[in-house]
């Protein structure tokens, strides 16, 4: 059996979009969340099987920030792909995600990325509407609706990204 392929990926998003809760049950974690407030990142690992190959996704979960000016972009260095997480009940988190996307692209070039629409099980006043999501899909975005509570599609998000990374 060959060694697994290792890839560094990042998870980006605005404050309190639910990044960490989303992955908590689905990744191997070793470090506590206090690292988000101290150094601004926590590293987890998610092992995924793509066809007959094993891919170890070393996930750098960056602390949520509400603007790119607060982001520590150094942590993005060398990432093979990233997940952008937005809170479906707060449409401004989508704007933040797009800003972060632009910054990540400037740094990394066109690497695989997936837009995750989290908290899909909730309803809210500032919901992102289906039309907006349709527009995103049409402009080439790969989007996945997830929920930390129900566990909806979380594994699928990782598998899809892993597949894109080794193509």
């Amino acid at each position: 059996m060959t060694d697994p392929i290792k890839k560094k990926i990042c998870m980006l998003g605005a404050f309190a979009v639910g990044k960490t809760s989303l992955i908590k049950r689905y990744v191997e974690d070793l470090f506590s969340e206090k690292y988000h407030t101290t150094i601004g990142v926590k590293v987890d690992k998610k092992t995924v099987k793509v066809d007959d190959r094993t891919v170890d996704l070393i996930l750098w979960d960056l602390a949520g920030k509400n603007g790119i000016s607060e982001m520590r972009t150094t942590y993005l260095r060398g990432a093979a792909g990233y997940l952008l997480v937005v809170d479906k009940t707060r449409v401004n988190t989508l704007d933040v995600a797009m800003e972060m996307h632009k910054m990540a692209q400037d740094m990394l070039g066109k690497v695989p990325c997936i837009l995750i629409l989290n908290k899909w099980d909730l309803e809210g006043k500032w919901d992102i509407d289906e039309a907006a999501i349709g527009d995103l899909r049409n402009s080439g975005w790969y989007t996945i609706k997830t929920s930390a509570k129900t566990g909806m599609s979380v594994d699928q998000a990782f598998e899809t990204l892993a597949r894109k990374l080794i193509e």
């Binding site: 392929i5 891919v55 150094t74 060398g78």
Partner: protein, 342 residues
């Protein structure tokens, strides 16, 4: 008819040549001018040089990307040029290379001084203690310098784990450990270590070349040595000598050299790095109390004491003891004299 033709040809061969030339000129005059112009261009070296200069840069780029023949062809010329440059004015080339040599020299000197200070510190702290006296005796008996004896008795360390990390991504390329060391998930640990280094680098305004070299917690240290593409992180328990850093640097240099192409093309497959495990394992050294360092570290421990030899503190203590003894002798003699004199 034949006659007239022959007679015509026979009469004026020169004239028919002239006629041919005239005919040529009438028909081909523009082409002849063109050819004359082209010939002039070919023959005039200035014009040829000018034209070549326009395509030279592009040609070099294209050739260089096709094969290595251009580099090979230029090699003797470049060597000659460098020789001549140095002959003409060595300062020019020295200035050009300095930015590279400067940091390397500084690093080497700083480490060398650190080694000296370490052995000096150890020596000084024991100079005036009972243990120190005992060791001085040992030093006289064995003929070894005092500093060496001190280091031998105090140095206890053990390199427990060594990580080989791809700097840009923080991914672990290889990991070795003494079996007794507990190994948590190496990928995550290495990722966090890289994140911490990025954090410290960003937060404390270090310049591009300065990197986090060691972390200490309790009796553990993590020493990090970096090359252009990889970093070596050694987890050490105890009090390691500065020479160990040289060993880590050596391993990094060898790995960078042997794996340079693989590193550039690294996209997540770590199997090619299995051949570098040997270099990592050679860093798993230990030294126990009272004994010289085991295995490959033996040489480095011996080397460690070389600089100490010239810097061990002179026998100030012996001077004081000697002076005390002399006073004692004088006192005793004085007493004897006064007794016998009475």
């Amino acid at each position: 008819m034949n006659d007239t033709n022959e007679s015509r040809q026979g009469k004026d061969p020169v004239r028919s040549d002239d006629e041919l030339a005239n005919l040529r000129m009438l028909l081909l005059s523009p082409e002849q001018e063109e050819i004359a112009r082209l010939r002039q261009r070919l023959d005039d070296p200035r014009i040829r040089a000018d034209e070549l200069s326009r395509v030279l840069a592009e040609a070099i780029v294209i050739r260089a990307s096709t094969d290595k023949k251009l580099a090979q062809a230029l090699l003797p010329t470049i060597e000659e040029t460098i020789k001549d440059s140095v002959k003409k004015d060595p300062k020019f080339l020295a200035d050009a290379i300095f930015p590279v040599i400067g940091p390397a020299m500084r690093k080497a000197i700083a480490e060398s001084i650190r080694s000296m200070f370490q052995s000096m510190n150890e020596t000084l702290s024991y100079a005036f203690s009972w243990k120190g006296l005992k060791w001085r005796l040992e030093s006289i008996q064995t003929g070894k310098p005092f500093a060496e004896i001190v280091l031998m008795h105090t140095l206890i360390y053990s390199v427990e784990q060594v990580f080989l990390v791809h700097r840009e991504t923080g991914l672990v390329l290889q990991h070795v450990a003494t079996t007794s060391a507990g190994i948590k998930d190496v990928d995550m640990v290495s990722g966090m270590l890289t994140a911490i280094q990025d954090f410290v680098h960003d937060s404390f305004g270090a310049s591009e070349n300065q990197i986090l070299q060691s972390l200490h917690v309790g009796e553990y240290s993590i020493w990090v040595e970096q090359g252009p593409q990889v970093a070596l992180a050694a987890v050490i328990q105890g009090n390691p000598p500065e020479e160990l850093r040289g060993k880590l640097e050596d391993a990094v240099e060898k790995i960078e050299f042997q794996q340079s192409r693989v590193l550039q093309e690294f996209k997540g497959d770590v199997t090619p790095f299995a051949t570098s495990r040997y270099h990592l394992e050679s860093c798993l050294v230990q030294a126990k109390l009272g004994m010289k360092a085991t295995g490959a570290a033996r040489q480095s421990a011996a080397a460690a004491t070389q600089p100490a030899r010239t810097h061990s503190k002179p026998g100030l203590l012996w001077l004081i003891i000697g002076a005390g003894l002399v006073c004692l002798v004088i006192l005793i003699l004085g007493i004897i004299f006064s007794l016998t004199g009475r």
